[in-house]
């Protein structure tokens, strides 16, 4: 397709971000306008995609929409501005657009420096979008780092009492990891002898690497991407960052930033270094099971609603890692579906936790009880989010988790009982939490507590609708994902 749609989206987001920073009091309107334009452009991208009617030709093999312009040309280093989407990245782009607009609407009442706040939210989403479309190592790294800075400021300025510590920890952990990732990517380029920093040439050249080199490169990349996942034992930045971050920051952190790790691992390591994945598989299984068990055990002992969701995120991302490690097409499909589902559901849960905090002045599970009569709408959203998170059929997580368990059964047979058993435990805990917070005897309810403001309701409602929609029609996503020509997907 000759029309540079992806660059147009980038330009829209960039212009919107700059305008939002400058808009002061009107920042929320500019941010909303940008988000709507972004969503519309993503819809265009979807319409022009094989999963939908109107498929168009591709310049880079495997990427339906792609643009390449020369950027740096040296004898030993070819760097392009190369962007493109395939089915997998498109799903993540859709997630970005959805979470951006939901976050902007949910945070409508932000009074503290709204220009900077909404600008940083848009900048985070811009960086995530860039990561999902970049097909060049340098460009990918630029966007990857571009996500870090606005999130650092979101946590550091609008966060809770311990925000400085949390922001610094977040920055140090993820920055060190991205340095390892960069060295891994550079080594991938130079050891494979790829003719350029472009994804397609790296992809082709990496086939010639020996298994030992592939394994080392894979492990370096796995560490780099894994800290963003986050994998145990490099997960400790996540609960701190979540607890201290403002609600909008938490939503983007759980919904998008964690997905960067999963997407990066799939795109730049799993696809490119198949025998590296094969050799490293035991390590990945071990880390995945560790994350699943550890995340779930720790979430059992949490009293803070946000911490609960944060630890269950570690558990869910552990299942994602397990699905990726299976090295099968079903596993890959499950991983992408799970990440999309987790993005929506954890976004929803963090929003509800934020609303509980605004309304009742606390997120402490033990000091809350029977809030349903006072805030029926908020309770409904908490219920939908929790039920989706524990994998109730007809909600978005069910098809994803079912696929993941099926793929695990195919690949690992009886080991499937570990994630299955853990799922039961988490389900039990979510139900227990709902029972205490939503239905128990009224407790800790201030007199002035009333239903959430409209914008928070609309923000959460959007995610609730999508939770149900994609729960009933997962095929919408599956068709897009399997159009990617990787891992034995049918392709187009």
């Amino acid at each position: 397709m000759s029309f540079p749609l992806i660059s147009l989206v980038l330009a829209t987001l960039l212009a919107g971000t700059v305008a939002t920073f400058a808009a002061g009091r009107f920042a929320r309107w500019v941010a909303l306008g940008t988000s709507i334009a972004f969503l519309a452009e993503v819809a265009l991208l979807l319409l022009a995609f094989p999963g939908w009617p109107g498929y168009s030709s591709a310049a880079i093999p495997g990427f339906a929409e792609s643009e390449t312009y020369a950027w740096i040309r040296l004898s030993w280093m070819h760097i392009d501005y190369a962007v493109g989407v395939d089915g997998i990245s498109l799903v993540f782009i859709l997630l970005t657009a959805i979470l951006q607009i939901a976050t902007v609407v949910y945070s409508w009442g932000e009074e503290q420096r709204p220009g900077a706040y909404f600008g940083l939210v848009l900048l985070t989403c811009l960086g995530c979008f860039g990561v999902f479309v970049a097909l060049d190592v340098l460009l990918f790294f630029l966007f990857w780092e571009a996500v870090l800075v606005p999130m650092f400021f979101l946590i550091g300025f609008w966060g809770g009492p311990n925000r400085r510590y949390a922001a610094l920890k977040f920055f140090v952990y993820t920055h060190v990891a991205s340095i390892v990732m960069l060295v891994g990517l550079l080594a991938l380029v130079f050891y494979s002898g790829a003719s350029s920093f472009d994804f397609s040439s790296i992809y082709a050249a990496a086939r010639g690497l020996g298994p030992v080199t592939q394994t080392f490169l894979f492990l370096a990349l796995f560490f780099g991407f894994g800290v963003k996942f986050p994998i145990v034992p490099f997960h400790t930045w996540l609960p701190d960052a979540h607890v201290e971050a403002p609600t909008g920051g938490s939503v983007l952190l759980a919904g998008l930033l964690l997905k960067l790790g999963g997407y990066g691992l799939i795109r730049w390591a799993v696809e490119v270094l198949p025998s590296g994945l094969h050799t490293a598989q035991p390590i990945l299984y071990f880390v995945a099971f560790l994350s699943i068990i550890w995340g779930s055990v720790l979430s059992l002992s949490q009293r803070d609603l946000k911490r609960l969701v944060a630890y269950s995120s570690i558990n869910h991302m552990g299942i994602v890692l397990l699905a990726i490690a299976l090295d099968s097409s079903l596993g890959l499909l499950a991983a992408v579906l799970l990440m999309f589902a987790h993005g929506i559901v954890s976004g929803l849960l963090f929003m509800t936790a934020g609303s509980v905090h605004h309304t009742y002045g606390t997120r402490d599970i033990a000091s809350l009880g029977g809030i349903t009569p006072r805030t029926p709408a908020l309770s409904t959203m908490i219920m939908v989010g929790s039920l989706a998170s524990l994998g109730l059929p007809a909600l978005i997580s069910f098809p994803a988790e079912f696929t993941a368990l099926l793929a695990t059964w195919n690949g690992l047979a009886y080991w499937v009982f570990i994630p299955l058993g853990i799922l039961v435990v988490t389900a039990g805990f979510y139900i227990w939490m709902m029972q205490r917070v939503l239905f128990g005897p009224p407790k800790g309810i201030p007199l002035e507590a009333h239903e959430v403001p409209w914008y928070e309701g609309v923000g959460m409602g959007l995610l609730v609708v999508l939770t149900v929609l994609f729960g009933i029609l997962p095929s919408l996503l599956v068709n897009v994902i399997v159009s990617s020509p990787v891992k034995g997907f049918p392709g187009t």
């Binding site: 040296l74 280093m77 790294f141 060295v183 550079l186 080594a187 130079f190």
Partner: protein
């Protein structure tokens, strides 16, 4: 050979010398118009720069190229004192840019201030010495050229003759400089003992075939020490902070942005041949001392020095409370990055290091120029004193912030591009150089903290309650009001130039990387 043919390639040097002589002549004739003297200096530097750029093959200026194509980037015959290489010309351009920035900024000085003639004259002489370094192909020529620029810079540090701190700095600079000269010449004499020549071309041709391994090792060892003083490498760095701190800040800008790069280029010149011959061992006899290959020893030594310099500079910069000292330590750590280029010794690494040197002129030189301007506005020397500067003077704050971000290696600035090229070149060389890249990257991560702290102070902290209006100097008379926010046109232009370069080459680096890359390739193939 007629005079024109002979003198043509030396036009840049001639312009610099003529400018300096003219300035001194005017001073003797008691013409002390600072604007006139400054204009002469700027014009001399600009003319020199134009001819250098023309000789580099910049198409629009091709008609002005004076070096015949047969004399550039070819393996010289015989044992000439000087050789024209593209990389040398690039470095000439870099040195001239540093001098241009400083002389532009100094145009803002009050027209009745004393010492302008001395300042500009010495600046031109120092630049002349540096420009000569860039064409040297003989150790003695190289060390003498360094001496020319060094003596001029010792005097520059003390040119005000009033401030005791400057005098102390100049004294320290002079003593350390003399020591470094002695070490370098001693190293050169040892090499002469081993090779029977001080010519770099002849040394490169002789390779290891002469015996005397101890002499050669000692000779190179002393040269590393002597040149490391110039390039502010650990453990020969300690003087730099006091001198940078004590010197008039415009002079500091020249020292950090220009003069110390002489040491870096001297490292390129002296160590490329021995390092290179192990990398292309198949093409010829490896560079050995007896049975030991010299190249790997040098490479490991230089790598260790590079890592130490980066790390120590960064860690100490983290601890500083004064702006100039913080920038001085960061300048030391940047020298460590540049040394990676010669430690790796491939043409990509040389290109990366050269770009890093180029970037440093505008980032660090520019930052010191801002500091000088800000100090003249009455802001104190501590980092804390910059509180609220970004709000009070948004444009200046943004420019300073951009320079610091570029120093930290934040994307879309030239500082990022240079580090990216340098570190990817280290990874490209494979082997243990990958760890050199890791060390460099971790150090850049570390450096983010102290640069970010300045940004925080400038933009987020509340300004301190001020006793007097901005522009008042405590205990002094009200300074002359200057246009462009109190900076003056010259300084504003210099800062704007630095900002434009940082951004333009940061977003589209191909413009500068292309020439540097081909220059580095030629340099390696000449293998001087």
């Amino acid at each position: 050979m007629d005079v024109g043919t002979f003198a043509g390639p030396f036009l840049p040097e001639i312009f610099l010398l003529a400018g300096a002589l003219l300035i001194f002549l005017l001073d003797v004739l008691n013409v002390r118009r600072n604007e006139l003297v400054g204009a002469i200096a700027v014009a001399g530097i600009l003319l020199a720069l134009v001819f250098v750029v023309a000789d580099l093959g910049f198409a629009p200026l091709a008609a002005l190229a004076t070096i015949p194509s047969g004399q550039i980037d070819v393996v010289p015959t015989g044992t000439p004192l000087y050789t024209f290489t593209s990389l040398g010309l690039v470095f000439q351009g870099i040195f001239l840019s540093a001098a241009l920035l400083v002389s532009l900024a100094s145009l803002s000085r009050p027209s009745n201030e004393r010492g302008a003639s001395i300042f500009y004259g010495l600046l031109l002489i120092a630049t002349l010495g540096m420009v000569l370094v860039a064409i040297a192909s003989d150790l003695i020529f190289l060390l003498l050229a360094i001496e020319v620029s060094s003596i001029a810079t010792y005097l520059l540090v003390a040119y005000t003759r009033r401030d005791p701190r400057s005098l102390e700095a100049a004294m320290k600079f002079y003593i350390i400089g003399a020591l470094s000269t002695v070490l370098s010449f001693f190293g050169a004499s040892l090499l002469y003992g081993a090779y029977g020549t001080t010519n770099l071309v002849a040394i490169a041709a002789a390779r290891g075939a002469v015996g005397f391994p101890v002499l050669i090792l000692l000779g190179y060892g002393f040269l590393i020490a002597g040149l490391a003083f110039k390039a502010t490498l650990v453990p020969f760095h300690a003087w730099a902070v006091d001198v940078y701190d004590g010197a008039p800040t415009d002079v500091t800008s020249f020292l950090a942005g220009g003069s110390k790069k002489v040491g870096i280029f001297a490292f390129f010149l002296v160590f490329l041949a021995p390092v290179l011959f192990v990398r292309t061992a198949a093409a010829g006899v490896p560079f050995t001392t007896g049975s030991v290959a010299l190249g790997p020893v040098l490479q490991i030594t230089l790598s260790v020095i590079a890592v130490l310099t980066m790390t120590l500079g960064n860690v100490l910069a983290l601890l500083q409370k004064e702006m100039k000292r913080m920038l001085a330590y960061s300048s030391i750590s940047q020298a460590g990055y540049m040394l990676i280029g010669i430690a790796v010794g491939t043409s990509p690494a040389l290109a990366g290091a050269t770009l890093q040197v180029f970037a440093h002129v505008f980032m660090k030189g520019g930052a010191f120029l801002v500091v000088a301007g800000v100090t003249a506005l009455g802001v104190g020397p501590l980092i804390e004193d910059y509180r609220g500067l970004g709000v009070r003077k948004p444009l200046l704050g943004l420019a300073f912030g951009l320079m610091l971000l570029s120093l930290a290696g934040v994307p879309l600035t030239i500082g990022f591009v240079s580090k990216f090229v340098l570190f990817s070149a280290a990874v490209e060389a494979k082997g243990y150089f990958v760890w050199l890249a890791v060390a460099g990257l971790l150090n850049s991560a570390l450096s983010v903290f102290y640069y970010a702290r300045v940004l925080k102070v400038m933009f987020f902290d509340q300004p301190a309650p001020r006793a007097g209006p901005v522009g008042a100097i405590v205990g002094g008379s009200e300074p002359a009001r200057l246009p462009v926010g109190g900076l003056g046109y010259g300084r504003a232009a210099a800062i704007a130039l630095a900002v434009i370069v940082i951004l333009a080459f940061g977003v589209y680096p191909q413009l500068i990387l292309g020439p540097i890359q081909s220059a580095a390739q030629h340099f390696v193939s000449v293998g001087l």
